[in-house]
Amino acid sequence: MPHERGAPAAHQLERLDDFRWRIPRQGAMRTDGLVFASEALMGSIRGDQSVTQVANVATLPGIVGPSIGMPDIHWGYGFAIGGVAAFDPAQGGVVSPGGVGFDINCGVRLLTSDLSRSAVTQRISSLMDELAAEIPSGMGRGTRDKLGPSEVTAVLREGAAWAVEQGFGTPADLDRIEGGGRLAGADPRQVSARALDRGRAQLGTVGSGNHFVEVGYVSEIYDSALAEAFGLALDRVTVFIHTGSRGLGYQVCDDYLPVMLQAARAHGIELPDKQLACAPLGTPEADRYLGAMSAAANYAFANRQMLAHRVREVFQRSFGPGRAELRLLYDVAHNIAKMEEHVVDGRKRRLCVHRKGATRAFPPGHPELPPVYRETGQPVLIPGDMGRYSYVLAGTEGALRESFGSTCHGAGRAMSRKAARQRAQGRSLEREFREQGIEVRGATFATIAEEIPEAYKDVAEVVDAVHGAGIGRKVAQLRPLGVLKG
């Protein structure tokens, strides 16, 4: 059986400048593809099928502007990971669960503190032990208490606000979450019994795979004014939280893929790959999916809110009350579809913007930003691999103009999980990380082995490409001190 993913990209790529590549419209494509990448990154992008996947998305009805790939783009299911596509309901545009991904509202939040790196380094081992004890992480790990059915429904409707009402964090946190931590279109009635069941015991858990809680510090500042406005100072300690909607979100995606396959057939939509299954916006199928997806997104916002609360509690206990305040810098989704207003061809239009492995990056002055970030632009959080560094960026006009207010989301895998495990075989990974000044806690050796730094591309190259292309502005670099892997 032929295996298409090993083949080189069949689509033509025209280099436009140092950071832009055009995939000219051909065949069933309704629009061009546009990939943001440096020449070096394009080398690895060409090696998988992500360019073809960007071109495949360009065949879907009602797509507006180009089908976009970010510098961290890599092969995904149907849609590439690192893709952005906007669809116009007025032109038969669609919504596709595959354009959001299984982990609905997978995202990151960053907490900042006044703690110094040295104060935390001294007790990092016990701090990580406490975090590992307090925060459920790992394969299918759930919570001690199951939520009741009405509580799950409330979470799906209210998102992070539900968590705050229950005493997890403060109302001030809500301003610093994309969309206020609650998507208004959430409709829990569209979430299946299976999905609800999976959601009952997983709220406040990290999960497995590439999800993590990471204690780090600010290692470099590129834009001092923005860094100050974001509360980032050199050597100050930060905490990254990366997770999503857990089993509930996977189940929502899983439930709606067959529905969308049927809808695509009924509406005569030809799919180059079944994972691109979709329904025209405004149809009952599309409305149901958007209602369920928004509900799952709210679950993810609540999940990260609860995890942040647990982390805050551990810091308070470790460093003493009042000495370790953790402020929420921002919380962003990087797997989501949202209705947003964008100006296309000089005309304001309401579009369904899919971001799969891409981060919203709205510029200064954007009306959807809270007052605290109205002048700076939206904070954009880009986690790297567990051994090197992560970045904080700010949203730009360039992103709004060229990529529907979107930018990259992370490093992207360079090595399969199996290859990574083989590379890690026989090594003492915990000791290796400790020698680099990083305390790692993880559910299993396999989890840590699959996530070794060399399994990932260098996120610095990705961030330099979006900065160079003007679809994000570098603000600061963070380095890890301790990582709790799922």
Binding site: M1, H3, E4, R5, D48, H74, W75, G76, Y77, G78, I81, G98, F102, D103, M139, G140, R194, D197, R198, G207, S208, G209, G247, Y250, C253, D254, L257, P258, L261, Q262, R265, D273, K274, Q275, A277, R413, A414, M415, S416, R417, K418, A419, A446
Partner: protein
């Protein structure tokens, strides 16, 4: 259900796939379910100790295979079920029903090595050539 046929695991950068082959479609579906289970758990082969009714449907044969695997995966997610075999009472082009057999994962016998988030439709292939049916299924892990 006999265990005629084979499966193998294919490892890629961001996902895992299985390829399977069998003399006929019911056996092919069985090998795909066994392949998926091999991704989830290592250790002793699951024993056919418990039986669960199963139904699946799809717009065509490949979609039917995905739906069958989704139902088996749900049994694992909800109950820790590990697949050992299947008996089909009905096996039509777009619908099937029957019962799957297996056991709940037990720490003494099985090591759960991977969480499968979902069975995907991506690059899905079912080749129905009589005597040598083959399939490829990609999983989100």
């Amino acid at each position: 259900m006999s265990c005629e046929g084979w499966f193998r695991v294919i490892d890629h950068t961001a996902d895992v796939a299985i390829e399977a082959g069998a003399p006929d479609l019911p056996a092919l579906f069985d090998r795909c379910a066994a392949g998926m289970t091999s991704l989830i758990a290592e250790g002793e082969p699951p024993r056919p100790l418990a039986e669960h009714p199963i139904t699946a449907e799809g717009g065509d044969r490949p979609e039917l295979l995905v739906d069958f695997l989704r139902q088996v995966l749900w049994l694992h997610v909800s109950d820790g079920f590990l697949y050992a075999g299947v008996r089909f009472d009905r096996f039509e082009p777009t619908a099937l029903s029957g019962a799957v057999r297996g056991e709940s994962a037990a720490p003494a016998r099985h090591v759960l090595v991977r969480e499968i988030k979902a069975v995907t439709y991506h690059a899905l292939e079912v080749d129905e050539t009589p005597g040598q049916c083959r399939a490829r299924v990609v999983f989100d892990v």
